[in-house]
Point group: C2
Chain length 101, copies 2
């Protein structure tokens, strides 16, 4: 039972997801959501720092790539991880921590 190459279009989709996660700030957003579950943006802002507009832009990119989901609750917008792929990649990183540095 040999492993076949994945379809090129699928590879390109996955490349987009990897690319979006391939940014320190966004990766920290993803990690925070993985550790703490659904979180409103202002809590992310307090935890991660930086300018409000910048956080919003990064959240938008993660949303576009369907890595996270947004849901408004009153004044707040709550963000949630939307793909188990993100958690899998994080866990892979956690396992490797120490081995790479």
């Amino acid at each position: 039972m040999s492993i076949r190459p994945l379809p090129v279009t699928f590879m390109n989709q996955m490349a987009d997801v990897l690319k979006v996660m391939g940014h320190g700030y966004r990766l920290r957003i993803v990690e925070f959501l993985d550790l703490h579950g659904p979180t409103p943006a202002h809590v992310l802002l307090a935890a991660l720092g930086g300018a409000q507009g910048l956080l919003s832009q990064h959240l938008a990119k993660l949303r576009q790539a369907q890595v996270i989901q947004a849901e408004r609750r009153g004044k707040e917008v709550w963000y949630t991880l939307d793909t188990p792929a993100a958690t899998t990649i994080l866990n892979c990183m956690r396992k490797r921590q120490g081995a790479l540095q």
Copy 2:
């Protein structure tokens, strides 16, 4: 035993790896090496297509991020996957294929 946030410097390193893999052509290079093992560049070129100089540039990026390793054997340069993280990410993608689309 709760999971702690990964160190920021480590996160940034991993973000670089994800970013480098976040490109369709490079992702296909990584997949090919994962499926076929060590491979000389001209075989990759025949398999993946594109301009020779472009392949070389992408290989250089993957090398810089320590995703692959290069070893000259005579006229050829053989490339090998250098981090199990790449295989883990690929396997994650394989599991998810079909679920995303």
